[in-house]
């Protein structure tokens, strides 16, 4: 009976999160409260259980990276890079778009996607303004690039952070398994941009002077802070790469990096906490308690057994279904609760396969599907919603269908290429 009530409470909270009838934080907390009231979760489970409680590694990794972003934002480095890159192209529209897409994708691999587009969108509008170009294609391309770039690393997208923590995967596991395909996807995406946005590339030589008159050096607000931030960021990246060898969790690397930046920057708390999204962190906590309750009552275990029996040795089929299914769902609903729910199920399948390549590829199928599927619709990823909001406030409204027209094509093509990669690397040649 308790299991039925837990599933009902979980489903109700999930529907509320997916439909956004109430704020997703309120829905997740209500779901977590229901699990406590049903007697499935207590303080010991919620706060101290590594398997079924709040995953503090995820929470503190996110917190650390948000503080790092808060400090980096103060330097003006993104504005500098974007203006510098656009000037190198001498205002040629497609080359400018390629530069901005690459900057966005690389930044998204290292930072949160939403923060990246928040930082790159204003300077993109400035560049387009100077060149007399319609900014909408550039902004859409950046949102799509941020979701592609974020797929590359453990820290690039919240679903990856959840997968890494729950599956015990390292930064290097992500870098060696996902970064290669993301580089290929980025090249494919740039090719798609050339075709999809071809009407946006009108070159006006007379406007180039206006772009070249921009002085990118002036946007660096504090050169000393930029230098110190750069050194700490490099140290943090080295820490991520070496975290398994150093036996230090990624969350500790991020927190130490954030602490070092705060100490070196001498910023006040409101400044270095500016980019910390407290609602997102609380949302994650509620979500972990909700999913943990499903594990506690054995629902996930029973579902996992059913799935394991159904999959048998057909791991390619399972990976394909996971990739395309995750992509389809992530285009419609928030991929964070989806991945949080799926990780214990995928863990069961991977364990049943004794951790061999065929089975562990399921993690990459889940990550690729959930991350890239967000491109499919205007509401599929937070970065898309943020870009649409910025465009509207600047007098360039992007309709749901306008975004989805481009996003769905990019999602289908990138998922298809990803499937080919999974098949070749882990099943045909693996």
């Amino acid at each position: 009976m308790t299991s039925v009530l837990v599933v009902a409470a979980f489903a109700a909270a999930y529907v509320l999160i997916a439909t956004e009838r109430i704020h997703r934080v309120a829905a997740a907390l209500a779901g977590a409260a229901a699990m406590v009231l049903l007697g499935v979760v207590d303080a010991r489970v919620a706060f101290f259980s590594e398997k079924t409680g709040v995953d503090w590694n995820v929470i503190f990794l996110l917190l650390g990276m948000m503080v790092i972003v808060s400090v980096l934002k103060q330097t003006g480095v993104f504005d500098y890079l974007a203006i510098w890159a656009a000037k190198r192209t001498r205002g040629r529209p497609f080359a400018t778009m390629v530069m901005l897409v690459v900057i966005t994708a690389v930044a998204s691999a290292l930072l949160d996607n939403v923060t990246t587009v928040l930082l790159i969108a204003p300077v993109t509008l400035l560049i387009c303004d100077r060149l007399g170009l319609a900014p909408v294609p550039f902004l859409i391309a950046e949102a799509l690039a941020s979701n592609i770039g974020g797929t590359a690393t453990l820290i690039g997208d919240p679903p990856n952070i959840i997968i890494a923590s729950r599956a015990g995967l390292t930064f290097n596991d992500f870098a060696t398994n996902l970064a290669p395909i993301v580089i290929i996807l980025l090249v494919v995406f740039i090719g798609l941009c050339r075709v999809l946005f071809r009407s946006a590339f009108t070159y006006d030589p007379e406007r180039v002077a206006a772009l070249m008159a921009l002085d990118e050096r002036e946007v660096i607000k504090d050169r000393g802070l930029l230098l110190r931030s750069g050194i700490v960021l490099v140290a943090v990246m080295i820490g991520f790469v070496a975290h398994s060898a150093l036996h230090i969790e990624p969350s500790m690397v991020a927190l130490l990096g954030a602490g070092a930046l705060v100490a070196l920057s001498k910023l006040d708390p409101p400044e270095f906490l500016e980019e910390v999204e407290w609602p997102t962190l609380v949302f994650f906590m509620g979500l972990f308690v909700m999913v943990g309750a499903l594990v506690e009552v054995g629902v996930i275990g029973r579902l996992g057994t059913l799935l394991t029996d159904a999959v048998g040795d057909h791991y390619l089929l399972a990976a394909s279904a996971l990739l395309w299914g995750s992509a389809a769902l992530s285009g419609i609903v928030d991929n964070i609760p989806y991945v949080a729910t799926m990780t214990p199920l995928v863990q069961t399948l991977v364990d049943a396969g004794n951790g061999v390549g065929h089975a562990t590829a399921l993690w990459w199928a889940l990550a690729l599907g959930a991350d890239l599927g967000g491109n499919a619709t205007a509401v599929g990823a937070s970065a898309n919603v943020v870009v649409i909001g910025i465009a509207a406030r600047n007098g360039h409204p992007i309709s749901f269908w306008q975004f989805t027209k481009y996003g769905s094509i990019v999602a289908v093509v990138t998922i298809a290429v990803s499937w080919l990669y999974l098949w070749l690397r882990y099943y045909a040649l693996g």
Binding site: A121, P122, D129, A210, A213
Partner: protein
């Protein structure tokens, strides 16, 4: 002291007044804003100087003020040319809030005027007597009246 006593004559601008003329009137008279009257002659809204800047400065620069440092004087001139061929209507936020006008009755006390200014964060209030506009009060004039006189040095 009542609002009628504090009120000063003010230049009338309408929604169709040329935006450049309105901005130049504001700077010439050193008013922090202008009262915009509607077709019926009653105050329609207040146009504070900050709204003129909000119209001129692109939203993306307001979001990321550091970008302003990359722009040179020529770019600045281009931005300010936006006032040409614009009207006061273009400068006002859309849609206007008809229910929230900084307007006081002529018999309002100086503290009532201060309360309206503080609540609406407006540097200017219009003073009306029935349907007739009798003048305007700036924040400077109100503060000069409310503050205690400085002791003679």
């Amino acid at each position: 002291m009542t609002a009628r006593t504090l009120a000063q004559p003010f230049p009338i601008v309408t929604l169709d007044t040329d935006a450049m003329d309105a901005a130049q009137t504001m700077t010439r008279l050193r008013w922090p804003g202008l009262i915009v009257s509607g077709d019926d002659g009653r105050p329609y809204t207040i146009l504070p100087g900050s709204e003129v800047l909000r119209f001129l400065i692109p939203t993306y620069v307001q979001d990321d003020p550091g970008l302003a440092r990359a722009l040179d004087e020529r770019a600045s001139d281009e931005l300010f040319r936006k006032l040409v061929r614009s009207t006061v209507r273009d400068l006002l936020p859309q849609p206007p809030d008809y229910d929230d006008l900084p307007v006081v009755d002529a018999d309002a006390t100086s503290l009532e005027v201060a309360a309206v200014m503080a609540r609406m964060r407006s540097p200017l209030v219009a003073v009306v007597d029935g349907d007739k506009v009798v003048g305007a009060i700036t924040v400077n004039r109100l503060l000069a009246h409310l503050l205690p006189a400085a002791p003679a040095s």
